[in-house]
Point group: C2
Amino acid sequence: VNERHVGVFDSGVGGLTVARELLRQLPEENLLYLGDTARVPYGPRGGATITRFALELVQFLLDREVKALVVACNSISASAIESIRRLSPVPVIDVIEPTVRAAVAATRTGRIGIIGTVSTVASGVYERHAAALDSDLQVIAQACPLLVPIAEEGLADHAVAHLMAEEYVARFREEAVDVLILGCTHYPLLKPVLADVLGPGVQLIDSAGPTISDLATLLRRRGLERSGAPHHRFCVTDASYKFLQIATAMLGADVSDQVEQVCVELPAGEGLPGCILPDLVPAMV
Amino acid sequence: VNERHVGVFDSGVGGLTVARELLRQLPEENLLYLGDTARVPYGPRGGATITRFALELVQFLLDREVKALVVACNSISASAIESIRRLSPVPVIDVIEPTVRAAVAATRTGRIGIIGTVSTVASGVYERHAAALDSDLQVIAQACPLLVPIAEEGLADHAVAHLMAEEYVARFREEAVDVLILGCTHYPLLKPVLADVLGPGVQLIDSAGPTISDLATLLRRRGLERSGAPHHRFCVTDASYKFLQIATAMLGADVSDQVEQVCVELPAGEGLPGCILPDLVPAMV
């Protein structure tokens, strides 16, 4: 079992920020990364669709016998974490809960900001996790729909990143938050511009560190660690022209001979009579 | 047969610009609109993925016995039109060819600009169609990856639309084109800002008019027209929170009781042994 890969998955390139941290903290683990580049972004979609897509990604990784799963996408975690835990016989590490713990440990004012996709913010998951830790905390959430396309297009240094960062996060300066959770694994790609707009009074909390720390603890506790030279695989559902570029830049190594294009779709319509879902309006956020 | 719907399909809301023109030019036809809001955008994806998704949309419409198909998405047309024509027993109206004809008729300088998604521009389809009509024409193409997310998010009046329009189309002022093809059915949503950046010397050519004129001719020639009060259906693959908003604004009527959420996926992996595609690099644009 120990030789098996750790499965890390995301809607696209964002989860690479978590994968990078895994390579740093656990350099001898085998990584199997899965990015659903054929269907990215997940953030603007309804919870039922995100859950359906996420379970297909999980099934793909379980079929390849991973020893643990890391949900490296906040939109998936916010909508589908319970369904994933029900499906998975191997341990599941969530990207949201460890990050909220880190933010709560870091705040001195008790005022925490969080930015995320539309579906993540609409889910209210950060408010619930924070309230469970300390009911006096104030959590102020802001949806940032254009940041994922900006990150996916590699426009982190472009004026458009600054314009939209100003629009989305400038309010946190006045809201007197001292901690801002980057509630989407794409956002660390935009850290410089977010830090620039927010100024030094606001600490940015990235999910990758706390999430992989939790994974390390779990592997150690269960005796699932491995040692030796690792073997990594990167699976994408579409040969996205940006994936290799961003992966190479982020991981600091040419991974082109480790990338495969794969299909993850399961037969559709199963359990959906006539394929017409009755919950159009409730599913809308 | 005449009573059957005309199937109009797109990756998301963009095709509504074509649907709106159908309702205007052919107000007694039944419209069946299909938007793949669960997998939008198509533009950044590889040709093989776009073709796979597009054939699922076509099959969904054929199963509902449409009398004609309108490909209301330039990315689909650029990558998949031949596969669609092979699959479809009913006539297929393409969004690209009629638009190139309109642009060629409109230009006086013989210099035509075209903006589109990454996959559309990479396909070179506009250059080929223009050369087939007149080999002296000069076609200058520009990919605009952020315009679809901006349109899908309803940000046409936001500063970000102006910033990116300036970035993508300002060059056409110096290139001395007198005609610019809006080579993506989302772009008419951004017409005011594009016109503002380009100034009065450049005429914008929208696909909707020429495409629906071709459809009208086809229905007339084949005796497929219908008359009477129409019945429309709008199918989306995800309960996108923006679809109803944009559809209502564009069509000038509340269509909420005509919208259904549907599944279009066919069993995956068929004909793909092990689901691993060998053409990762060639498929990249």
